[in-house]
């Protein structure tokens, strides 16, 4: 079985409950808020947009800290692992970048139908959906790559080298978040024009992804348990 397929098998029991959990949380929180007042913000963008990226960061960490060794000892090369992770991560990131505007759209429609939208509620438009996709996708990829690089710093090197690699590894997540992160109304945080923010984010992601490839491609699989 390919690395990507195995990864989906491994993560299936994690991904599905996660999606159910975040949808439930959104429904419950929205119901709670609307019982008090008509919300002026999108609960979905708070949970799905702002919080879920940390989950992606953790996946990036776990992939290197736990799964790299497991795959190599079971006969995959490091390159096969990286390629499998890239496909797996890309599918996850695209799916989530679709889920964010989709969830926002549903939330927007339901609240509209119920007449519960506050005056400041960010009603989703076609352009807005596209922009959210364009923001969420690089953010997810950045958090995944950062998580993996941070774990690699710890996995491959010790002490100071590892710390430096970890700090460098965090750059895509921090930069992309700063440049492309959206607030609870779905707008850009810092007012950096999107094309410039996207270009810088992609550059940071690509640079660290290249470093990750270099660091993993001949990393020793040390005999440490757990």
């Amino acid at each position: 079985m390919s690395v990507t397929r195995v990864l989906f098998r491994l993560y299936r029991p994690i991904i599905l409950p996660f999606v159910v959990m975040i949808v439930l949380a959104d429904v419950i929180a929205t119901v709670a808020v609307t019982s008090v007042r008509h919300p002026d913000f999108s609960m979905w963008l708070v949970l799905g947009g702002a919080a879920a990226k940390y989950w992606i960061l953790v996946i990036g960490i776990i992939l290197v800290a736990m799964h790299l060794r497991q795959f190599v000892v079971n006969g995959a090369t490091r390159h096969e692992f990286l390629a499998g992770v890239a496909v797996f991560g890309l599918i996850l990131a695209v799916a989530w970048a679709i889920a964010v505007p989709l969830g926002h759209g549903i939330e927007s429609a339901v609240l509209g139908a119920a007449g519960k939208r506050g005056p400041g509620y960010p009603v989703l438009t076609a352009g807005g959906a596209l922009r959210q996709f364009g923001q969420q996708l690089p953010i997810s990829l950045a958090y995944l790559v950062s998580g993996a690089m941070i774990a690699t710093g710890f996995y491959r090197w010790r002490a100071w080298t590892g710390l430096v690699v970890m700090l460098g590894g965090a750059v895509p997540a921090l930069a992309t978040d700063w440049l492309l992160g959206f607030d609870v109304w779905g707008g850009l945080n810092r007012g950096v024009p999107y094309p410039a923010g996207l270009a810088l984010s992609v550059a940071a992601i690509a640079l660290v992804a290249w470093g990750l490839h270099r660091a993993i491609s001949d990393v020793p699989i040390r005999p440490t348990a757990g």
Binding site: M66, V73, T77, E80, D218, P220, I221, P223, A225, G226
Partner: protein, 293 residues
């Protein structure tokens, strides 16, 4: 053919393996012997591409092994840590191996778990040392990898479990011939299974021989000190003891009947040296000495 050319493994300034050359024809069971810290695990890690050799090359069937998908897919290296995540259940470990290993035999894995009385619902962290080894045996044998490397996968096993392990190893090898490399300290109980024996010491190759050639290879000569000294001159001494006027010398030499007759007429006694003793003698000092009077 598995070829190691001038393979060295260094960790910083520590040299674990130095300049090892080995040609291992495939389809045989090899025993890798060496004392603790002799470099066995480092050598096997390089062989299995868990680690790129600091210098030198490992080739399998003419192809460079490191990061070669065809070679790595066919290689299964089981270390004593099991290389798992402690929270994983045994069942999950086997399932993972089943997903990745092209020749995985799930029925055989289940049979072996049963044989070693291991509950597949147990977590890796709650296994005893011996149970961990047994799970290693299950993973190693059921993978049916053309190159199977088992690094001391008997640690903590009791005599019954070890005996079951050796029986299964041989039985599965007979049914599915492949290259198996087993590293061990317990030479005596498992030597009969090895077609060839590799001995390393201080990171260097000491010996690579057909196992049967080692049986009766050494000899211990006992007798009056002067007669012994005269008889053993010119042969490689592995060890010696003196008590009063009696001297006992262990030689790396297979005397022929004429030598034995000559020695016996000089009042000398000859004793055989087992593989275990030969190994101890070979590795207990760095350089065997040339005998002198």
């Amino acid at each position: 053919m598995i070829e190691l050319r001038d393979v060295s493994v260094r960790y910083g300034s520590t040299v674990a393996v130095e300049g090892i050359d080995l040609d291992l024809p495939t389809g045989k069971i090899y025993g890798l012997l060496g004392r603790n810290g002799s470099g066995k695990t480092s050598l096997l890690s390089a062989l299995a591409s868990f680690r790129r050799p600091s210098s030198g090359t490992v080739r399998v069937d003419g192809q460079d092994a490191f990061e070669n998908p065809a070679v790595m897919r066919q290689t299964c290296f089981i270390r004593d840590t099991l290389d798992t995540n402690e929270s994983d259940k045994v069942r999950a470990l086997l399932r993972f191996a089943g997903w990745m290993r092209p020749n995985w035999d799930a029925d055989y894995a289940a049979k072996l778990l049963d044989l070693f009385e291991i509950n597949p619902r147990k977590r890796a962290s709650s296994l005893s040392r011996g149970q961990k080894s047994a799970v290693g045996v299950v993973l190693g044998l059921a993978a049916r990898a053309p190159l199977t490397i088992l690094d001391e996968t008997y640690l903590g096993m009791d005599a019954v479990a070890r005996s079951a392990f050796y029986r299964e190893l041989l039985g599965d090898y007979l049914a599915h011939p492949r290259t198996i490399i087993l590293s061990t300290h317990l030479i005596e109980e498992v030597a009969d299974l090895f077609e060839r024996v590799i001995v390393i010491d201080h990171g260097r190759l000491l010996l690579h021989e057909e196992t049967d050639e080692l049986r009766g290879r050494g000899v211990t000569v006992t007798g009056p000190a002067a007669a012994v000294g005269e008889f053993v001159a010119g042969h490689t001494v592995l060890g010696e003891q003196t008590l009063g006027g009696v001297r006992a010398v262990t030689l790396d030499w297979r005397p022929d009947p004429a030598d034995l007759a000559r020695g016996e007429s000089a009042g000398l006694n000859f004793g055989p040296v087992g593989i275990q003793d030969l190994f101890i003698h070979l590795t207990s000092r760095a350089q065997p000495l040339e005998a002198t009077r």
